[in-house]
């Protein structure tokens, strides 16, 4: 897993995708920093992370996940991975954690703004950390969905579009029926900015992630038999 993680992370920065993803995060985060924290004149950063998660991740995640398996499949490099002694699980997890690492790097950069605010007031650090944890959980759930989308098609664009649709559709579907709120990742993020770690939300975000990772592994293994 470590081998694949290292190589994937390196590839993110060899191709500009890693920089672009972090750049998108910083731009979104800065815009919302102005629109929420600065314009309200408050030290509360919850809205800032909520808005960034809602709109920033929507662009970042497809960018990070669309090439994961689609590109390997299209270029045939998938053969190199799947004929190596590494297990499918370690390949999938390596790729998953590499994308997660980009999100973690972005979150580390976001601390700069907390430092700036601390010059003008007191930042509630535990709340901030809980918010960041929530952001990370939403991010890994989105990444796992994107990864699953990438494993079912060899076209990167299609993979990105599937990811965006799956992430955005629940926003509107909630108006049709409240059942859809259970698959709306943003609903599960609500309690974190208030400094609360909701067990229900944490468990459901983690289980979405685990489920998507498992399905990805099963799909890739299954394709060996079908292909």
């Amino acid at each position: 897993m470590w081998t694949i993680f290292k190589k994937e992370l390196k590839t993110y920065f060899l191709s500009p995708i890693g920089y672009i993803a972090i750049g998108i995060f910083m731009v979104m985060y800065s815009i919302f920093f102005y629109l929420t924290t600065i314009s309200y004149g408050s030290v509360f950063m919850g809205d800032l992370y909520y808005a960034t998660a809602r709109y920033g991740l929507l662009l970042m995640v497809p960018l990070l996940t669309m090439r994961m398996f689609s590109e390997e499949r299209k270029n045939g490099t998938e053969q190199l991975l799947l004929t190596s002694p590494r297990s499918v699980t370690s390949i999938v997890l390596g790729k998953f954690f590499a994308a997660t690492a980009i999100i973690v790097i972005s979150l580390v950069f976001s601390i700069i703004y907390a430092v700036i605010i601390s010059f003008f007031g007191t930042v509630n650090i535990p709340t901030l950390l809980v918010t960041m944890l929530g952001f990370l959980l939403v991010a890994i759930a989105s990444i796992s969905i994107g990864m699953l989308a990438s494993s079912i098609t060899e076209n990167q664009i299609i993979s990105a579009i599937i990811t965006i649709i799956v992430l955005v559709a629940p926003w509107f579907l909630v108006d049709m029926s409240t059942i859809f709120s259970s698959i709306n990742l943003m609903d599960k993020f609500m309690s974190f900015p208030r400094g609360l770690i909701s067990i229900a939300d944490t468990v459901s975000l983690v289980s979405i992630t685990v489920m998507c990772i498992l399905i990805t592994i099963i799909l890739i293994k299954r394709r060996k038999a079908v292909k």
């Binding site: 190589k7 490099t77 053969q79 799947l82 190596s84 002694p85 297990s87 060996k224």
Partner: protein
């Protein structure tokens, strides 16, 4: 050692590989030969564990590839068709990534990468991006990826496609060198290549193995008749009567008139005796001047084409038999229906 036992691969209803079995011994260089779409790559992909056979078993050095993939795959170095590579890496980075993937120990890794880069002649370009390398170098990078980690078995899918003649000879001699220490399986549709490099040839067509033998034996076994190619000056056109003079001759086939007034013939004969000596003695007496006389040799090319043709004929025979059977069945049904109708009519009346 690789054992392939009764392996079949189906894609839906089409059969890509049909119940094939063969063995490759340690240190052997075996060539897979067949026209496009014969099932060469499918078979190789199954041996490397990239796809799973629908039925059958593949055992690499005593480990079943589906049951103990980690152990089996560790023994295999694979160069897939179409040279898939990570273009954003340099050859050195790529080879060391492949070494890591293949569980080469950390302390040996650097030395191993160095060795392999040197072996395939990539030292000069090791720090350029693979994207910018020429086709020949890309091929070598892919080969280096297969070699790293010193696997027992090396599987090369069309290793010389798209290379210039100089590069081809280089890669071939490299493969020959590899054959001394490793078991090598390579696929190709270039026949001369296979007969040069391989000790044994597996000819495969439409998913079936048609022949497994040494290149020499294949050439011998498909040779039916002895032939002599002859270029002569024959002003009196005495060649026609030659058949009466030499009884052993089966046919005399006129090939063409040359510009310098000579004529080319091909003489075939089934007898075991060598006719060349007799021709030398008799032709001058008939006032025929020999310009050139040589034995025609069957090459692996002929053997290949012949084997594939015979397999086609077999198949079409099967098909026609099937069709006939179908026809018979249909006619029988028709007759039955007619009878029924007649009966109904009778009942109605």
């Amino acid at each position: 050692m690789i054992e392939v036992k009764n392996v079949t691969k189906k894609y839906g209803s089409t059969i890509a590989v049909n119940n094939i079995s063969f063995e490759v011994k340690d240190g052997e260089v075996v060539g897979f030969l067949g026209p496009n779409g014969a099932g060469k790559s499918t078979t190789m992909n199954m041996i490397t564990g990239f796809i799973e056979p629908t039925v059958g078993q593949i055992i690499v050095n005593g480990n079943d590839i589906s049951k103990r993939p980690r152990k089996a795959k560790k023994e295999i170095g694979y160069m897939p068709e179409g040279v898939p590579l990570y273009y954003e890496l340099t050859p050195r980075e790529f080879v060391s990534y492949m070494a890591e993937l293949k569980l080469v120990k950390r302390r040996d890794r650097k030395q191993e990468v160095e060795k392999v880069l040197d072996e395939v002649g990539l030292t000069d370009v090791q720090n350029k991006l693979i994207r910018n390398l020429s086709r020949g170098y890309k091929q070598r990078v892919s080969l280096a990826g297969a070699l790293v980690g010193n696997p027992d078995v090396i599987i090369l899918d069309e290793p010389t496609v798209g290379l210039d003649p100089k590069q081809i000879t280089e890669i071939r001699s490299l493969i020959k060198e590899l054959g001394k220490k490793h078991t090598v399986i390579l696929s190709s549709h270039i026949l001369s290549e296979v007969s040069q490099i391989c000790e044994r040839v597996i000819i495969i067509n439409k998913g079936n193995i048609i022949a497994i033998d040494t290149p020499e034996n294949l050439e011998k076994s498909t040779k039916e008749k002895n032939g002599i190619s002859l270029i002569v000056e024959d002003p009196k056109d005495n060649m026609k009567n030659l058949k009466e003079k030499i009884k052993e001759i089966d046919t005399i086939e006129f090939v063409k008139d040359n510009e310098d007034g000579t004529k080319q013939y091909i003489i075939t004969y089934s007898a075991e005796v060598d006719l060349r000596k007799k021709l030398f003695e008799i032709l001058p007496k008939e006032e025929i001047v020999i310009f050139e006389l040589k034995k025609t040799e069957t090459t692996l090319e002929d053997a290949f084409i012949k084997l594939i043709d015979t397999s086609k004929i077999d198949e079409s025979n099967k098909k026609t038999k099937k069709e006939e059977k179908n026809k018979e069945n249909k006619e029988a049904k028709k007759a039955k229906n007619n009878k029924k109708e007649e009966k109904n009519n009778v009942d109605n009346i």
